[in-house]
Amino acid sequence: MSAPEAIPEPAPVHGKAASLAVDVRGVSRVFAGRKGASVTALDSVGLTVEPGEFVSLIGPSGCGKSTLLRLIADLDTPTTGEIRVFGKPARQARIDQDYGIAFQQAGLLPWRTVSGNIELPLELHGAGRAARRARAAELIELVGLSEFAGHYPDQLSGGMQQRVAIARSLAESPSLLLMDEPFGALDEMTRERMQNELVRICAETSAAVVFVTHSIPEAVFLSNRVVVLEPRPGRIRDVLRVGLGETGARGETLREDEEFFHVVSQVRELLHGEAPAGARGVEAR
């Protein structure tokens, strides 16, 4: 985890499908509309995620990035194509609890304390009381909310709720984290703090992450690879490798880095096609 700048190129994906965290092959998702009209949310999308790799999906609204995440989570099934998670069909991976998930809304149960919310998945899967307590305490420590273990969600700020949601997604030590704009509802300062924390947490847990966002700097700051999608129909426009160093070694200084700005403008150009001058800075969050 302490490797210097150079990122090892992941080996070609063919022939080692079983060792991939996520393997999406030729996936399309068509939503049937009324009167025979249908919307193609995703059109023959292929994507692989290595174990421990941080991949961001970015694109304008309607490009199917959330749909893709829901398909990987088996909250929805593809119209055509195949999705494998750690070599298993997505459904089996969900049943086996191979991933943890966090949404834009923290989605905490209001009648459970911070600790109770984090324990929920453990409780559902039959972990013992003592084991649950210990694991929750550990995770609360990890997200820096030790003083708030007994608080209820309505006593926490939005950023704290989101931290609890992330702790909950980590409860069963998954090797894959699926995150759907988890910081989308937070203010800019909280957001950057959360990004720093997520980078640290990912380094500590070495989980692979699929991260949906509409913020370019966020995607660049967090990711090993940024996948740029385009809308109508949802397709992958390009995949950008971000060579900004190991996830764990990223810190506040990186945001001032020349290379960081370079990659940000690269992604922006990809997003806007030929990068019209007037559109610069629109998605600068």
Partner: protein
């Protein structure tokens, strides 16, 4: 730096203050009664042959202290008669017991129907219209039917008794708000929460127990309170139409006949029935107190 928001302020005034305000309302009502009796015309206010405000004679509107005083006197002139208040309390307890049975049965049936409708979309389409329609059947029409069917039920040592008919009718009124309220409550969790339970591959029962039932408490409590009030009203009315003795409903009708010579007497069972309603509502309030945790504000992210 993210900071915790302060806990939400209590809704409404403190309990002690609420009690005082409630008592003040009662005093105001009593004051209005006596004031109208003092100032209103003895023959009432009649507009175009129609009496719009009641007569203020001692027969039509006895003084409050007459009602109170009468309650302390014996029921009848007979030497061994119990005081009126005691008879009223006995009758109230009798009716309260029947209402409680009706409420329990109604809540059970209402919850079961709501669960069925939540589980199967088809059941909702098939059952919900009938549930709503069921409440349009007048109670008076129902009572003799229930009674007649009841008398035909008999097996072993069990035989149907009249109080069971009354309880059944009470439950018929009580189940309705529960089934509708619980159905809304069970369907109230966000798509977000339902997705999360799906991700945890939690089945229907686990989702019900950890998510849907706790989420429905906020909808269920008003429904339970409404059911309690309905059960009391149902019992009182059904006692009259079935002709069951011993309850407050029958007593109201009996004593109303005495109004001519003894104007304070009919008011005692009326207050008794109000008391039954208050006790029933208070009981549901206690349930709400126990479930306080599930009524926390929704998460504002």
């Amino acid at each position: 730096m993210t900071t915790p928001t302060t806990p939400r302020p209590r809704r409404g005034p403190l309990p002690a203050r609420r009690f005082v305000v409630g008592a003040l309302g009662l005093v105001l009502l009593a004051g209005l009664w006596e004031l109208y009796k003092l100032l209103g015309p003895a023959d009432g206010v009649v507009v175009a042959g129609v009496t719009v405000l009641p007569r203020t004679s001692d027969l039509a509107m006895p003084h409050l202290w007459v009602m109170a005083g009468r309650a302390l006197e014996p029921v009848t002139g007979a030497g061994n008669a119990a005081p009126l208040w005691q008879a009223v309390v006995d009758a109230s307890l009798f009716t309260l017991g029947i209402s409680a049975v009706g409420w329990l049965v109604g809540v059970t049936v209402g919850l079961a129907l709501a669960l069925l409708m939540q589980r199967f979309r088809l059941a909702e389409a098939a059952v919900l219209p009938w549930i709503i329609l069921s409440q349009t059947v007048p109670l008076i029409a129902l009572a003799p039917l229930v009674r007649r069917w009841g008398t035909q039920i008999q097996f072993g040592a069990f035989s149907w008794e009249s109080w069971m008919s009354v309880a059944l009718i009470a439950s018929y009124l009580a189940f309705f708000p529960v089934s509708v309220g619980a159905l809304r409550g069970l369907g109230s969790p966000d798509a977000n929460h339902v997705d999360l339970m799906h991700c945890y591959s939690a089945g229907w029962w686990k989702t019900l127990w950890r998510l849907r039932l706790p989420a429905s408490v906020g909808y269920l409590l008003p429904a339970l309170r409404l059911a309690a009030a309905s059960a009391v009203i149902g019992s009182v009315v059904a006692e009259v139409s079935i002709g069951l003795r011993g309850g407050i409903g029958r007593m109201i009708v009996e004593y109303a006949g005495a109004a001519g010579g003894d104007p304070g007497k009919p008011w005692a069972p009326i207050f008794g029935s109000v008391l039954v309603g208050l006790v029933a509502a208070g009981f549901v309030g206690l349930i709400g107190l126990g479930l306080r945790r599930f009524r926390r504000g929704e998460v504002a992210a």
